[in-house]
């Protein structure tokens, strides 16, 4: 029954994506650990971490697509859930440092000693246990999303207004986390991690392990999302996206459906953030900035909104482009990103994955001469 639920969402695209992920999960460990450092097939630890980072972003994009592509909620604050998950993981990693910090305090992280704090704040308790942190990674973003969505959906805040208040939410969180009084490292955030679950966080084998964990999380997230979308519940979600009032008049309580998808999406984003932090080695409040949330939206738009596989592809491609441009032509990166926003919204409303379908629609239209451009002028 449960197996059927999870398998029913899988189609051809899913098959391709899951195969690629499976290949990555095998090939990357072999190439990173099983080859000599001077071999052309060798992957450096840095590259493994970079790939892992892309896949974390892919999971974030996937979670965003679940709400934007299928429920029509454009969140401009999804990075907030991602970052909260990251902070939960960061707090665990901070506690793991123990007395190896600069000040050698067994209980307090360095920045607290620096601020002359004598006691661990209450919300830091429990984070020395991995299982506790792992729960918090999903619980904290989930609770925030639930509370936020509960109010927003019940009052029928929709469309642009919802987008703007999600942005206000992440902006408020950013300001809050920048304060030293928050007890979460202020400006500098959490960094200088030593080990995770007893493994040295810098070691190549740990990095590979984290990468494989990210691949597994992404695959699981994908299967879960496609199952949700293909289920009866998913049909309602899509109906809400296309004509919310009509669905409500048919007797569905649309708020609950939206709230479910929204909270699930936030939990997925939290997991992505938690996997991101140990691979990048730092989490700080600038991740909350509205700009990073909007950047996540463009990954989804580039790949293809409402396709699930598209956002994964979009996140990897855009971030690969970002890594390349910021190293090779740093001046041009913002032009490229800005241009991407404009071009995708103007010419690729369905993203890369929708391109084929878009072209197919276009081709027969050629026969009926210049109907298209004339149509557009009238708009």
């Amino acid at each position: 029954m449960l197996t059927r639920f999870f398998l029913m969402g899988l189609d051809k695209k899913a098959g391709v994506l899951l195969t690629v992920l499976a290949v990555l999960a095998v090939a990357v460990p072999v190439m990173a650990l099983g080859t000599a450092p001077d071999s052309p097939w060798h992957l450096s630890t840095h590259t493994v971490a970079l790939l892992g980072k892309y896949l974390c972003f892919a999971l974030l994009a996937l979670s965003l697509d679940l709400v934007w592509g299928f429920v029509g909620i454009l969140s401009l604050g999804h990075a907030a859930f991602f970052t909260l998950g990251g902070y939960a993981m960061g707090m665990y990693l901070m506690r793991q440092i123990g007395s190896r910090g600069v000040y050698g305090n067994a209980d307090l992280p360095d920045f607290m000693v620096f601020l002359n704090w004598t006691e661990l704040p209450w919300y830091w308790h429990g984070f020395d246990q991995f299982w506790f942190a792992a729960i918090m990674v999903m619980l904290v973003p989930g609770l925030l999303a639930f509370a936020f969505g509960w109010f927003a959906f019940r009052s029928r805040v929709t469309g642009v207004y919802l987008s703007i208040i999600t942005q206000a939410m992440t902006f408020a969180l950013m300001l809050a986390f920048f304060r030293n009084d928050m007890g979460l490292g202020g400006n500098n955030g959490l960094t200088d991690f030593k080990e995770i679950l007893g493994f040295d966080i810098q070691a190549a084998s740990t990095r590979v392990g984290l990468f494989v964990a990210t691949v597994v999380a992404l695959a699981a997230g994908y299967i879960l999302a496609s199952a949700v979308v293909a289920s009866k519940l998913g049909k309602v979600l899509i109906a809400v996206r296309d004509a919310e009032s009509r669905v409500r008049f048919l007797g569905y309580e649309t708020d609950r459906y939206k709230l479910f998808a929204w909270t699930l999406s936030a939990c997925m984003a939290g997991v992505a953030g938690a996997l991101y932090v140990p691979q990048v080695g730092i989490i700080n409040p600038s991740e909350f900035s509205p700009a990073s949330s909007i950047e996540a939206v463009i990954w989804v738009a580039v790949g293809g909104r409402g396709t699930l596989a598209g956002p994964v592809l979009g996140a990897v491609l855009v971030n690969f482009g970002k890594s390349y441009f910021t190293a090779a032509l740093p001046e041009l990166w913002l032009f490229a990103l800005g241009g991407l926003f404009v071009l995708v919204t103007l010419f690729l409303p369905k993203g890369i994955l929708g391109l084929a379908a878009q072209l197919r629609d276009r081709l027969p239209a050629r026969a009926t001469v210049t109907a298209k451009p004339a149509d557009q002028k009238g708009v």
């Binding site: 009052s155 926003f341 919204t345 103007l346």
Partner: protein, 534 residues
Amino acid sequence: MHRAFCWLLAAFLALAAPTAFAADLAPLVRGLGAGNYAETEKAIAGLAETGDPAVVPVIEALQAGDLHVRKSDGAVVVAKRAGNGYALTDPLTGGAIGEADRNAVEKIRINNALRRTISATLGALTLMSPDAGTRRQAAEAVFKSRDANALDALNTALAKESDERVRRAMTQARASVLLAGDAPDADKVAAVAVLQERGDQDARALLNGAANTGSDAVKDAATKAIASVEQRLALWGAAQNLWYGLSLGSVLLLAAIGLAVTFGVMGVINMAHGEMVMIGAYATFLVQEAFRQWAPGLFDLSILVALPVAFLVSGAVGVAIERSVIRWLYGRPLETLLATWGLSLALQQAVRSIFGPTNREVGAPSWMSGAFELGGLTITYGRLWIVVFAFLVFGALLVALRKTWFGLSIRAVTQNRSMANAMGVRTARVDALTFGLGSGIAGLAGVALSQIDNVSPNLGQGYIIDSFMVVVFGGVGNLWGTLVGALALGGVNKFLEPYAGAVLGKILVLIFIILFIQRRPRGLFALKGRAVEA
């Protein structure tokens, strides 16, 4: 009495023939270098008794530790470091008298007792200065130092003072000295009354001291005076917050008012709005550079010239954006949001590439710098003009939308596009011009904000979220809502600041808005009727 007479005489003579005295001062100055502290103090007293303003730089040099004795002839000189040795100048005339080796001069040392004498002497000397501003400053200095030594000088100066404001400052200084020293009770009670009238933080501190140490009568008077002063301070504190709130509110209004046109009237989410503000600020910078280059004498007019320039530049960029991108996206607000966000990134990078990432210097014209005091308030002219300017822009926009043909067509297109089209309004052109108007107003905001903020490529980023909050809070499609929203948010922010701190205050305001939107999803002044459903 004798001393007072000396003072008067000295002051009179000093005014009458300062140069004639210079020659007689020389032996007194020489006495400063006599050796021990006691002799130096005597010499200072001697100098002070001349009452000659020419003495002031000598004593100031002594205070600064620049006064030295030349070992070869025992002359007292001002020696300043120059290369390996010292450059010497005459302390009285200020003329250069050659250089000396480091070992050829010896510093005149002073101790704390001497420092007190020096500052009291300086205070007394400047109390007699012919310049009213200097006298007032001296009186304020005595007020702060509460130096009992200055009391005689103060009394003398007070007797011949004719300027009302200086007189008041001196009376207050005298009261502070009396209250701090051991004067009779009657004098102290009178001093309390004077300080109560002054009624600021300093006066409260002095009164607090008196309330804790004085005799019963003084204590009683002081306690009453403190209550009155505190009430007055609280009142001025509230007025200060109100002014700050109005000032912040007008900045928010300026930033949001253009958005009220593009978002409120047209329904277009323009995330590049902040960059229009930034372009306006850079236009101001360029205009000022041009003035610096070709007409530095007319620099005060640069801001006035920058206003139309910024409006036209930002407006033109706005029209270009509307024609090239936004017109394809009408009716798809979320896509518009993303596309304009992309434009904002590109515009920021373009400005960064052209002007560099660092802040650009935009100067203030003379009529916008400085400040004036209104009771317990200090109001800077720059802020005052921005408040005035914000309301002028608001009024002008209101008139333009209500009374002009252009405003009429904007409203017609907003309310019923196809009907307006049928009546011969060229809707596409009105769209472009409306967007240009909103962007141009953002450019005007940029001129004002260049005076109070750093002109950098990130200038606009700081305002975009705030301006959206204002428009959404006030109610979309309603200019009055924007006005009320801006002033309310500015005021709330500034009243929260003293209790919660600047950052926490801002967070609380954001949370408040998020909750407010839940209650009234269409803002404070929502449009009623069918227009809402569109």
